[in-house]
């Protein structure tokens, strides 16, 4: 496995058992998703070990992109609430990843700008995102014994800062800290970078953490 974390010393310096376990959880989810993507693309797909961080709302767009004005594709998925609360997800593909994905899936040329994508390209992005997110949710569900059921996903292409705005302004029961999972998916031709933001409400965070660390997880944080 290729760790592929250049200049990312802080991840090692601040070794955090909380992050370790979430990383393992993400690994399972993304593993499922990579298999699904492999079937979709009809070629071998490898993936990096997911990198997991806790990110504050104000800093989300800085982690996702160099400028909050960078145009990206975001696929947002809400889940139904169960006794473990609610867990929503946002998947971000940057410009290069969108380009690579579309080149792999569409015959013919791909527009140079995300602003010019037609409805067909958009529906492909939405479906690909949907597959990745549903597999991630399935993995988390089986791990936490939750029944978060994904609603219809929604695609938006715009400035990354504008897309993450909407998440940081969610219902107050949602936490103001997110779990960011970054993963690279490789084929022999493409490298696709996906950033998945897990947006748990306080109940869902509790369910996740209790599964990973037991009832007293808060003492560890």
């Amino acid at each position: 496995m290729d760790l592929n974390i250049p200049n990312d010393d802080d991840l090692f310096k601040n070794f955090d058992p909380k992050i370790e376990a979430l990383q393992e959880l993400s690994n399972i989810g993304v593993g499922h998703a990579a298999t699904a993507l492999s079937q979709l693309l009809n070629r071998r797909v490898d993936m990096s070990i997911p990198r997991v961080r806790f990110v504050k709302i104000e800093e989300v767009s800085e982690y996702l992109s160099t400028s909050p004005e960078d145009v990206v594709a975001g696929i947002y998925q809400e889940t139904s609430e169960d006794e473990n609360g609610q867990l929503n997800l946002l998947l971000i593909f940057d410009y290069n990843s969108v380009h690579q994905l579309l080149q792999a899936l569409i015959s013919g040329s791909v527009p140079r700008n995300l602003e010019e994508l037609d409805d067909f390209a958009k529906s492909i992005l939405l479906e690909t995102g949907n597959i990745l997110l549903i597999h991630t949710i399935t993995a988390i569900n089986s791990f936490t014994e939750s029944r978060w059921f994904p609603h219809a996903p929604s695609l938006a292409i715009d400035m990354v800062g504008a897309l993450t705005d909407e998440l940081v302004t969610q219902d107050p029961s949602f936490l103001k800290e997110f779990i960011l999972v970054e993963v690279d998916v490789f084929t022999d031709q493409e490298k696709i970078k996906g950033d998945i933001l897990l947006l748990p409400d306080s109940k869902a965070m509790n369910a996740l953490m209790t599964t990973l660390y037991g009832e007293n997880w808060e003492a560890m944080v």
């Binding site: 709302i57 004005e69 938006a156 715009d158 504008a162 897309l163 705005d165 302004t169």
Partner: protein
């Protein structure tokens, strides 16, 4: 080039001509600009939420209820006269189409309503607005002229209000 200050999420920036104030990539957030055109003092608040109900954080810039009075206070410290101050607002979009019931994702609209109400309460005249819809906006506020430039990156449009 005049100096440009950026108000990040939840921040308030205050300045005088010839400075410019900007907020990048507003989605459902609302950018509130306040301007005293006589003294050429202005403020930009990058408002995140209508109010602090249940949130449990106390940073004034984040909430419409706190950000606007705080911005006015800071402007007066810089020499603005309350009677001259007018307001323009931009942002409050709804970026994702979702089926959520109860307006969880309709925070943009709630932000706009809250900002308008608080401006009214503070007795500040709202002279222009460019709000709602489903695209992000970057705004640049020129403290020399009081004009607010709106940039829609996705639609490749730029105009002033």
């Amino acid at each position: 080039m005049s100096e440009v200050l950026t108000a990040k999420i939840g921040e308030i920036q205050v300045g005088k001509s010839p400075m410019k104030l900007q907020a990048l990539a507003l989605g459902s957030c609302v950018g509130v600009v306040l301007y005293d055109k006589i003294n050429k003092v202005g403020a930009l608040a990058h408002v995140l939420l209508p109010d602090e109900t249940n949130v449990g954080v106390h940073e004034p810039g984040k909430f419409a209820t706190k950000a606007i009075p705080e911005a006015l206070r800071r402007m007066e410290l810089k020499g603005a006269n309350r009677a001259n101050i007018i307001a323009k607002i931009a942002g409050g979009a709804k970026m994702f189409e979702t089926n959520s019931v109860g307006g969880v994702m309709d925070i943009g609209r709630r932000n706009i309503e809250a900002v308008i109400e608080i401006l009214k309460k503070e007795g500040i005249q709202l002279v222009a607005q460019d709000v709602g819809e489903n695209f992000g906006r970057t705004i640049i506020f020129d403290l020399e002229t009081g004009s607010l430039t709106i940039r829609q990156i996705m639609n490749r449009k730029e105009y002033k209000i």
